[in-house]
């Protein structure tokens, strides 16, 4: 202990860590702390320098109807996207895990939404949803439905965003389930068949529990993604009409770069960080115990 060799090792170790540590501090920890500090100050301009305001920004937030609106939207958005996209991902993975003709093509088709540039895709969906000229209306018209203004109606706009997200996410999650399925031992399936287990029983009692670690990973990703959506909103709705489709991160963007209110944007960011931290902690403590790791 304390010898020159120890010091040399310490220096060597820290030098090895330095590149990663520098990046981590510069781009993760410093901004997080700076954001927290900024949320206690008012936004400054050249004419009105920023000053310490304590919890004023938080008080404003609690009274801001748009904040509550986007938070509620975000909740519905998470409820709408996560279970559906995970369920569809499992179904698709089971399907393309079988021996079927053109398996590669089907897998690729399911994965395509993930690799496409989302801004371009959102532009295409904009035309799908467009009243009269849109694909959706052209299809429903065949069945005698009247034209519907999908993105212009506060009652349908969030559902439209949810459908598009599910379409995009399911293929991505499928890849993880597919990898997990392929690592499952074949003997289990043979044993199940010998014992006369039905496919449903086998899936529910054997496959699904074995997929739980993947499910946890996917769920955390899905939750984070549900708070990360900005790009589609830009193209499709700009959060409208009347904030009906605005989500928390989009609102933060708006406050920071359209309103130039960096303090309030920081305040909202702190709330977002807290929310995500809570969810992650909850997930790991509650779910981890019930997961079987091999």
């Amino acid at each position: 202990m304390g010898g020159p060799r120890f010091i040399k090792n310490q220096v060597y170790g820290w030098l090895l860590l330095m590149p990663a540590a520098t990046l981590l501090v510069a781009f993760t920890h410093y901004p997080a702390v700076a954001t927290l500090l900024q949320s206690f100050f008012s936004s400054g301009t050249a004419r009105r320098p920023s000053k310490f305001v304590g919890l004023d920004n938080y008080a404003y937030m609690l009274e801001d109807p748009v904040f509550w609106k986007v938070l509620t939207n975000n909740l519905w958005y998470a409820v709408g996207t996560i279970p559906t996209s995970v369920a569809i991902a499992i179904l698709m993975a089971l399907w393309v895990n079988e021996r079927l003709p053109l398996r590669g093509v089907v897998r690729m088709a399911y994965f395509t939404p993930t690799v496409l540039p989302m801004i371009a895709v959102a532009n295409i969906w904009l035309f799908f949803y467009s009243p009269d000229i849109g694909l959706l209306d052209q299809v429903t018209r065949v069945f005698g439905f009247h034209s519907q203004n999908w993105l212009g109606d506060p009652d349908t706009v969030l559902a439209c965003i949810i459908v598009m997200t599910v379409w995009k996410e399911a293929g991505f999650f499928m890849i993880f389930y597919l990898a997990a399925l392929q690592s499952l031992p074949h003997e289990l399936e043979e044993a199940g068949r010998l014992e006369g287990a039905s496919r449903w029983y086998f899936f529910w009692r054997v496959t699904f529990p074995l997929l739980m670690p993947t499910t946890l990973f996917v769920l955390i990703n899905a939750v984070i993604n549900s708070f990360k959506l900005v790009d589609h909103l830009f193209i499709l709705t700009k959060g409208g009409p009347d904030n009906a489709s605005s989500l928390l991160l989009y609102y933060i963007y708006e406050v920071a770069f359209s309103f130039f209110d960096q303090s309030y944007a920081s305040t909202l960011t702190v709330v977002l960080l807290l929310l995500l931290a809570l969810i992650a902690v909850g997930k790991f403590t509650a779910l981890d115990k019930r997961i079987h790791y091999r």
């Binding site: 904009l126 035309f127 467009s130 009247h146 700009k238 708006e254 359209s258 309103f259």
Partner: protein, 430 residues
């Protein structure tokens, strides 16, 4: 990157030649200019060429014209450059950014740098309506460059089909409603195949609404940018009319109408009339498969439209030589000949009456009369909504308009709430 190398190489070459020619050569003045592009077409090439012409004429000034994305990006980049201590000398930014820039103490007024009589005359040579967004506190802060108005595009074939005179588009609100009803075409089962008119209500609802309120004799804000008139009776009446076109008269679809797909709707004949920026003129001209017309917006009390688009600004953190060089560049780019060329290539309005006196633009207008509609409408134009805290105030109005159009609040209720919130934001600027 290549451009930087090229410019540097070019600059170095010019400097060497300059040094060789005269031992007393002054140091070159370097200008950095940010500019956005907000409409289609290869506009960066046009700007590069204009700048090259200027450099040829002024060998002692070096201009770095940097394309900076859309209006929002351009403002963010210019302000970020300012904070980082590497400021640009001038920029083209949204005409409505003026209060934000003043609040950040970023720009200087043109009145403080023009000295000669000639410069003062130049400053007075622009269309007054286009100057409105650039003037506050009795000072001129922005010079019009890429500017537009809203115009009414209409499908002449649809007018003929509905038994209307294609050379007589609606002149008033009542005519827009009555003609609009005649233009609606329904299929046997009652579904609408073609709407009478569409006014977009996403993207820039406050802009369209500025037209309706001006037509009803009301502007949206005071000249000092510290008071809004969202709950004035004429403002509320304008929103009731807009909503009524959809919910009562059946001329427009209900709910909001998408800015981004509206042009396609018009081109596919799904609406007989659309209100849109004159910036779409070239695209409609190139893609319409039917006979179309362009007209001024209709009137209630008077005609009216807000102007839109970008102005030149000069930054405060610059030396006097740089300010004079920037002024020279702006004067160069707003000369009648170049303004005419810019207008033809882009569809933007010629910002000065004398641009329309040039042979170039005169001939173009004769050959393609819709090109003159936006200019003629300038007589009835007003400033675009712009206040202190402008992003927030604008969003309050956008949300109110959308809430009324989608039926979640009445126009009176929505606008009264918006006004109350705007008062709260603007009180400390009065």
């Amino acid at each position: 990157m290549f451009r930087i190398i090229r410019n540097t190489a070019f600059g170095a070459a010019v400097a060497l030649v300059g040094l060789a020619a005269t031992a007393t050569a002054d140091a070159k003045t370097e200008l950095t200019m940010y500019y956005p592009v907000a409409v289609g077409g290869p506009l960066t090439e046009v700007v590069d060429k204009l700048v090259a012409d200027f450099e040829a004429e002024n060998p002692d000034i070096d201009v770095n014209a940097i394309y900076a994305g859309n209006y929002n990006d351009a403002r963010i980049k210019a302000l970020a450059a300012l904070k980082s201590g590497e400021p640009a000398q001038l920029a083209v930014m949204f005409s409505i950014d003026i209060y934000e820039l003043i609040e950040q103490d970023a720009i200087i007024a043109f009145d403080d740098i023009v000295s000669s009589e000639e410069d003062k005359a130049w400053l007075k040579g622009f269309y007054p309506a286009l100057m409105e967004n650039g003037i506050t506190d009795d000072k001129t802060w922005g010079i019009p460059f890429q500017r537009s108005t809203i115009v009414m595009y209409y499908n002449k074939d649809a007018f003929r089909e509905a038994g209307l005179d294609p050379e007589n588009p609606p002149q008033t609100w009542d005519e827009l409603a009555s003609m609009g009803k005649k233009l609606v075409k329904k299929a046997g089962d009652g579904t609408v195949e073609r709407w009478g008119a569409m006014i977009p209500s996403t993207g820039y609802p406050y802009w369209m609404f500025g037209a309706l309120t001006k037509q009803n004799g009301q502007v949206l804000m005071s000249g000092d940018g510290a008071t809004t008139f969202f709950d004035a009776p004429a403002t509320i009446e304008a929103l009731e009319y807009w909503k009524g076109l959809g919910s009562e008269m059946g001329v427009m679809p209900e709910g909001t109408i998408e800015w981004g797909t509206l042009r396609q709707n018009f081109l596919e004949g799904k609406t007989a009339i659309m209100w849109h920026s004159t910036g779409n003129l070239t695209a409609v001209k190139d893609n319409a498969s039917f006979d179309f017309g362009v007209a001024m917006l209709p009137s209630k009390v008077s005609r009216g439209t807000p102007t839109g688009g970008g102005n030149f600004y000069i930054f405060k953190d610059t030396s006097e030589a740089e300010q004079q060089a920037a002024l020279k560049l702006i004067k160069f780019l707003t000369q009648p000949e170049r303004t005419a060329e810019w207008s033809i290539k882009t569809g933007y309005i010629g910002t000065r009456p004398d641009a329309y006196e040039t042979d170039k633009l005169k001939n173009y207008v004769v050959e393609f009369p819709p090109a003159a509609v936006a200019r003629d409408q300038l007589e009835f134009a007003t400033a675009e909504l712009s206040t202190y805290q402008t992003g927030r105030v604008r969003k309050l109005l956008d949300d109110a308009i959308q809430a009324a159009l989608t039926g979640s609040k009445s126009p009176t209720e929505a606008l009264t709430e918006a006004q109350k919130a705007a008062d709260g934001l603007l009180r400390r600027y009065r």
